[in-house]
């Protein structure tokens, strides 16, 4: 019998999901399946591959409308638990950014600063249902006479709260080392002198954009797991760079694609939206993100079958080169090597340190798998795909 090439549509896959017949596996499982059976057979058998990642993602924040007050107020400055929010929008619309430190934070005056509370923590507190103190000042207008407000808010009482992260899910990221002879404190964690440790941040073969390297199934409107609930990709993230150099398998060898995502804060959980700080660097938000990849054909099966051995990144010196804005690759490493616990760098064994949680990434991929298997989560068709490059 002549073999027919597999070609499925998202509509067909959704029909199977609704019937409870879709075959869903995690990207970890898919790696083994494609190794064992080959991409062609895998494409026929598997409908959806789920991915996941959980790590600090700085370019995150939330749009909040805190409701009109009596008398009315057009806020010009707003603080949430002492953390400034951007108020240059309509009367009671604000954006709270993840990396904004509390206004009275000593920052790096005593280096390394601790940054124990910032925008990311405000967002986590809201998601956790905690009361948050909102202070606002205003200059007063005829239609909005009130000049200040100081009140407690909770997420459930807010008229509107939308997580909208301008850049999440970086497809690949640098492996950071420090070639100086002093410890440095970076957004990649603490880096000990003389290449004392090598930090990396990815869930590797489980990472969303590693499983669809050319963003063939990712676009405006792609439904995803975000912060414990459903969210959406709404476009390319800031710094989205499809033109980065790619390996033979099509996967970028350095930071490349990113996504802008949004989701209703009210459905989220503090387990998956967690305020963090990086010592000496600042505040941020750890975001749980998972993207389902439809296996439309053999090509998508091949992409999702990628393993940590076939994913590479560059070693960058955050002591000298990166701060000068002159990052150059000091070497290439695979994620399998990074995950092993040591890499060999200039003839020395350097311990590796993850800052992205593999345990949580696996959990996300499994949750998403369960949602789809149970018919609770349907795939969507991207309306405007992410900018990409010609395939190899």
């Amino acid at each position: 019998m002549p073999k027919r090439k597999t070609s499925k549509t998202i509509e067909e896959i959704n029909r199977k999901i609704k019937q409870g017949k879709a075959v869903v596996v995690t990207a970890d499982e898919m790696t083994d399946i494609v190794k064992g059976k080959g991409a062609e057979k895998a494409a026929r058998e598997i409908d959806v591959v789920t991915t996941g990642t959980f790590a600090p993602m700085c370019s995150s924040g939330a749009f909040i409308n805190f409701g009109h007050t009596k008398p009315t107020l057009k806020a010009s400055k707003v603080w949430l638990n002492g953390v400034p929010a951007y108020a240059g929008l309509a009367a009671v619309d604000i954006y709270i950014g993840a990396t904004e430190p509390a206004e009275d934070d000593p920052l790096n005056r005593v280096h390394p600063g601790q940054f124990t509370y910032g925008g990311g923590h405000v967002i986590e507190d809201l998601v956790a249902g905690k009361k948050v103190r909102l202070k606002a000042t205003a200059y007063g207008t005829d239609c909005y006479p009130r000049q200040e407000v100081d009140k407690k808010i909770t997420l459930s009482e807010l008229p509107y709260a939308m997580l909208l992260n301008p850049r999440n899910g970086y497809q690949n990221y640098n492996c950071a080392i420090n070639m100086t002879d002093k410890t440095i404190y970076t957004y990649m964690g603490v880096l000990k002198p003389k290449a004392g440790n090598a930090n990396y941040s990815t869930s590797g073969q489980l990472s969303p954009l590693f499983n669809d390297p050319y963003y063939l199934t990712l676009g405006l409107g792609t439904r995803i797991f975000l912060g414990g609930t459903e969210g959406y990709i709404i476009g390319p993230g800031t710094q989205h760079n499809p033109g980065a150099k790619r390996g033979k398998n099509g996967v970028p060898l350095s930071p490349a694609g990113t996504v802008m995502v949004m989701g209703d804060l009210k459905g989220m959980s503090p387990k998956w939206i967690t305020g963090v700080r990086m010592l000496g660097y600042g505040c941020s938000l750890a975001v749980g993100l998972g993207i389902p990849i439809p296996i439309l054909n053999e090509e998508m099966a091949r992409y999702t079958g990628v393993s940590d051995e076939e994913l590479f990144t560059q070693i960058i010196d955050y002591g000298n080169d990166y701060p000068k804005g002159e990052a150059v690759s000091l070497g290439r490493v695979s994620y399998a090597d990074l995950k092993s616990g040591t890499i060999s760098f200039k003839g020395e064994d350097v311990p590796t340190v993850p800052v992205s949680s593999r345990v949580r990434a696996v959990e996300i991929a499994n949750i998403l798998k369960e949602w789809i298997e149970k018919g609770k989560f349907l795939l969507t068709e991207g309306q405007e795909m992410l900018p990409t490059v010609k395939r190899k």
């Binding site: 930090n199 967690t274 010592l279 750890a286 311990p351 340190v353 949680s357 345990v359 949580r360």
Partner: protein
């Protein structure tokens, strides 16, 4: 910022010295007294948490020792809040004893308390503020 729980034992000659005021004024340290006792033979014991710049802390302790006060660190207990810890592994970069380590291939982060030297580096480093210092409360009773 640096913070340590210390016990100060001072001979009766010092009991009247304004040592706390000096710590605050001269070394810019803040304090939180958990226990203060004058024993019958007029020997004093103060248990307190001292907080400030590491350098100031060290100078402050030197000052105390210089005037004949016995300063001891109080046993500290490092704990991990397992609800807050999200198993990233960032703390393993700084843990000098291997008390925090990664179990492969799961990449789970294990905390073995018996290997911990209470150096507190993880407390400073953990992005989730999951590592906490707890003081040995038995010393206060």
């Amino acid at each position: 910022m640096y913070s340590k729980m210390v016990s100060l034992r001072f001979p009766k000659s010092n009991v009247n010295e304004p040592i706390i005021a000096n710590l605050v004024k001269k070394f810019d340290l803040t304090f939180n007294i958990l226990k203060a006792t004058i024993y019958p033979r007029k020997e004093g014991l103060v248990v307190m948490e001292l907080t400030g710049h590491r350098k100031n802390y060290q100078q402050g302790v030197r000052y105390l020792k210089g005037i004949g006060i016995k300063v001891e660190n109080i046993g500290q207990d490092i704990r991990r809040d397992d609800d807050k810890c999200y198993q990233c592994g960032a703390c393993t970069a700084v843990c000098p004893t291997g008390a925090l380590s990664i179990q492969r291939p799961e990449m789970a982060v294990i905390f073995e308390k018996d290997k911990c030297s209470a150096c507190e580096l993880c407390v400073l480093t953990c992005p989730a503020l999951a590592m906490e210092t707890k003081f040995d409360k038995t010393l206060l009773s």
